[in-house]
Amino acid sequence: MTASIAIRAVLVIPAIAAAILALLPGYRLTSRLNVLASLLTLLAAASLFFLPRPEPGSYLFIDDLNIVFIVLNCFVGFTASVFSMTYIAHELETGKLTPIYLRFYHAMFQTMMFGMNLAFVSNNIGLMWVAVELATLSTVLMVGIYRTPAALEAAWKYFILGSVGIALALFGTILFYMAAQPVVGEGIDAMVWTILVQKVATFDPALLNVAFVFLLLGYGTKVGLAPLHAWLPDAHAEGPTPISAVLSGLLLNVALYALLRFKMLLAANHAAINPGPLMILLGLLSLIFASFMLYRRRDIKRLFAYSSIEHMGIIVFAFGMGGPLANFAGLLHMVMHSLTKSGIFYAVGHVSQIKGTQRIAEIRGLTTTHPWLGWGLVLGVIAIIGLPPLGIFMSEFLVVSSTFARSPLLALPLVLGLLVALGALLLRLTGVAFGEPLGSTAPARASYIPMYAHFLIVLAAGIYLPPPLVSWFQNVAGLLG
């Protein structure tokens, strides 16, 4: 087997699975098939680490950067499919989801995986745009799957804001092509990333600047950067929880990845603007805004959605700072955040199913009534607010210390945002996890394995990062410039 087959497998398996799952009825069979397809995709993605790389084609390619994203994507996709088995079983029993929508749900899940993987392996800025659009559309449909007015409203809002983001990103892509065309020549070559990055130094800088602003706003909408984040909390709160988990853990990363690819292009042209300050500004804005907004949340899924905005802010800030250390920290933080946040959503999904509500005020004393879920949530929140010894502590520490070393003034708002968010989440956590139990005490039928697997990885990474992984990340951080 060669890597080019593995690349295709990462795309073909979800595509075929989507077609099959759209046709098959029955919960037992299809949910297992969904897990199987996700597992196969994960295996194909993991094999990319070991196989020799093919020459980049004009549509698909693989390099050190996108392997990290693909493997993370397929791993969380796999655990989400395992979690979704128990979650969806409960939704079917309570009648929130009918069998016909179940088919639709599974097909859309695999379509989304296909779209996200395609965005990661595409070597063509046009194809990447199409893939991001596909992934977005499939999640829009899943956010609205419950058909309640709130769900439809959330899906509509996500759809309209997402479409504007998509349109702006496309305009930026067209501008990029026009900048490339006089140098590279007409046709497909002027959209191939590996060709662009070699020749970008001679492109017209004025056109590149305008293009990057559009791309930053367009893909930044999908990353959930303030003030373009309005779709994100609704989409997280109203859709099925497995989708909230993949939205936070994966889809935000897809848009971030697209942004990073264009940042690398701009960095190679010295006459163009430095994308760093723009990204630092938007990142800090998101961090500060979201951390203050955390205090007013009444809905537990919304609470963690705002926490995702906060963390995407930190990540974009770190990549905006640039340099080997900050890039390393940003990359590590992205991986840790994806794992932690999706793990938290797995816990929250079961909690809201048991209690029959998402209102924070009506969920109390979880550690007494449901110790596994309650302590899992405690562990997740401790991880996400960046307490030692978990992985996010390490990545946030790296971000803060590298910022202090280079521009101490920027570190002040950064630390402020982190502390404010820490306070808000601890405040909410104590109510939810401890105290007098409130609400249903029905025993949980939950799948703890995906959740604890994520948290264990985060814990392990906080204590010890294996040297091969560190050198891999250092290498990628160097690529990012």
Partner: protein, 220 residues
């Protein structure tokens, strides 16, 4: 490129910007749809002219899509939606028409200033097409934020998309133009179906924090 073909392309692209302005001050939904259909027809002409001038036959497909889908099918579908929802009299604007027009003028000036800075060595037609396209995109965005009604927001979005198609066809030899215009048509079709099926009347997108609190789950 000879003078005449340049002038015709220029005329059509300028026409699109002009129609974007006409869209801005419509205060009846039916009239809005008619003006939008006109814009789609002008866009189709402009794309067809680019196909002829660049000798790129695949662009005729894009022109045809623009003409049939956006010039005929979508306006008719939206017309029916408006009848069904009984909202043909309403148009709520957030700010006054006069102010909207002034902001629109400012946006056009901004995009022309921005694009004229771009290197002159680039094809002059492509550059000016791009300037016009940016105007149409920004005016479409302006329309989306100044209207509350879901139908007029969709019209704003489609007019924004017309600007994108203009930009894409102006970029010489750009690959995937047809595919992208098809992808966008699918997107627009989804939006129209969404409004039709779920009877969405009002817009929900806002960056207004006050409105966010009204959303489910966060009300006190």
């Amino acid at each position: 490129m000879n003078g005449l073909s340049f002038d015709i392309a220029h005329l059509l692209a300028g026409g699109l910007v002009l129609i974007s302005f006409i869209l801005l001050y419509q205060d009846r939904l039916y009239a809005l749809l008619n003006v939008f259909a006109l814009q789609a027809v002008v866009l189709a002409l402009s794309v067809a002219w680019q196909a002829f001038a660049q000798n790129a036959p695949h662009l005729y497909v894009t022109a045809l899509i623009a003409l049939i889908l956006k010039g005929i099918i979508i306006p008719v579908a939206l017309h029916r939606t408006i009848e069904r929802l009984g909202i043909h009299r309403e148009i709520e604007t957030v700010v006054g028409i006069g102010l909207t027009m002034l902001v629109g003028l400012g946006l056009v000036a901004l995009s022309l200033l921005l694009m004229m800075q771009v290197n002159v060595s680039a094809d002059a037609l492509a550059r000016e097409d791009l300037a016009f396209a940016l105007c149409v995109v920004l005016l479409g965005l302006l329309m989306m934020v100044t209207r509350r009604n879901a139908v007029s927001q969709i019209v704003g979005f489609m007019s924004l998309e017309n600007g994108l198609v203009l930009a894409a066809t102006g970029a010489k030899g750009m690959p995937l133009v047809v595919e992208i215009s098809v992808a966008f048509s699918v997107l627009v079709a989804f939006i129209v179906i969404g409004v039709f099926l779920f009877r969405i009347r009002e817009r929900f997108d806002t960056v207004d924090v006050g409105a966010l609190h009204m959303s489910r789950g966060d009300s006190e």
